[in-house]
Assembly symmetry: C2
Homo-oligomer: 213 residues x 2
């Protein structure tokens, strides 16, 4: 999009109204400032003025890009989901692939404390029904659980997972363990959440898998 200069593009540059690209840059900067602040303070405790100051613009300037606080939150959540997404299940997947992928995601997230902190803050606040991120949270859990359950069912069809495996419980426990470990890791970086998760997945394979270890 935006194929460079339309035509002559004279010396409008210095102080003329900034166009396209500049706007995107400021928006991006504001978004990252918001992520940082919401992660550390929570949504309720973060003000538009703080975000604007961190982004180097005025509150009104911020309001131009994000007309309201919930709108800013929506953009933050959208950005988060793009960075930390569940890999989709595919037909030819290796057995337990999604579970292994989650272990990898956990290891990757140990290099991105900001993202984990944002998630923990959001989840804690959004459990209440009327929170602006409540719908996001419901959807997040539903999508994650359905993805894991679908993967397990596929593995059952190909015979790599025992037919009597309690797939819902396995999926729910995996998600719960991930969430809980993230909290503990945030409080104590010595906690190796990827390793703990990997051990759990190994236990699952031993208990419900059909392939030899």
């Amino acid at each position: 999009m935006s194929t460079a200069a339309q035509d002559a593009r004279p010396a409008r540059r210095g102080r003329g109204r900034p166009r396209g690209q500049d706007s995107a840059v400021v928006r991006e900067r504001s978004l990252h400032a918001a992520i940082d602040l919401i992660a550390h303070q929570g949504y309720a405790a973060t003000s538009m003025a703080q975000v604007a100051a961190a982004a180097g613009i005025s509150p009104s300037g911020l309001a131009h890009h994000f007309p309201s606080k919930p709108a800013l939150l929506g953009a933050v959540l959208e950005h988060r989901d793009r960075l930390d997404h569940m890999p989709p299940a595919a037909e030819g997947d290796a057995p337990w692939r999604l579970f292994d992928a989650l272990v990898g995601l956990a290891r990757q997230n140990m290099e991105r404390a900001e993202l984990v902190l944002l998630y923990a803050s959001m989840v804690g606040e959004a459990v209440t029904e009327d929170h602006p991120a409540h719908e996001w949270m419901l959807s997040h859990y539903a999508v994650t659980a359905e993805s894991l359950i679908g993967g397990l069912r596929a593995d059952q069809r190909t015979g790599h997972v025992r037919a009597d495996a309690p797939v819902e419980r396995i999926a729910r426990s995996m998600i719960a363990l991930m969430d809980g470990l993230q909290l503990q890791w945030l409080l104590d970086p010595e906690v190796d959440m990827a390793a703990a998760l990997a051990e759990h997945v190994e236990d699952l394979k031993r208990a419900w898998g059909t392939d030899p270890a």
Copy 2:
């Protein structure tokens, strides 16, 4: 002036200054109002005025019992810990007693959504270092983990738990699972967190216990 009621003391009773007992009642009422509001909205989003209104007094009246917002939070946390406490390990404990007790606690908490909601809100907010409840949260995890680890070590000494059991990891995973299941249960009351936890404890006993199932 106003020598009138100095000694006659007519119907002073009805509206005279309330004493002792009354104060405790109002304090209790304020405390429960605060718990309810903080549980549903979080600490940052809850105002002293809201708590006062819910308790049926004025903000200044509330300030008399709790001189500041952090002071009110402290009282809330203290009350919470009294209701939802880790049973202490004792010398003659049955094997895995603390783990069974936690399953029972989870089942009990499924009748006390308020308490679980308060915990989830607090944990989400207090991960940040400068939150007024951060110290509480660190202590909460430390005490819980040490208690579980101590119980496992005692069971190892009595021979009911295998000597090569990774006690730290078992304790951390148990806590993580509890925390994560509480979130999922709050979002979907169909989730039976006590049952899921009980299954996990059974898995632990099978994997690391020495007693026959």
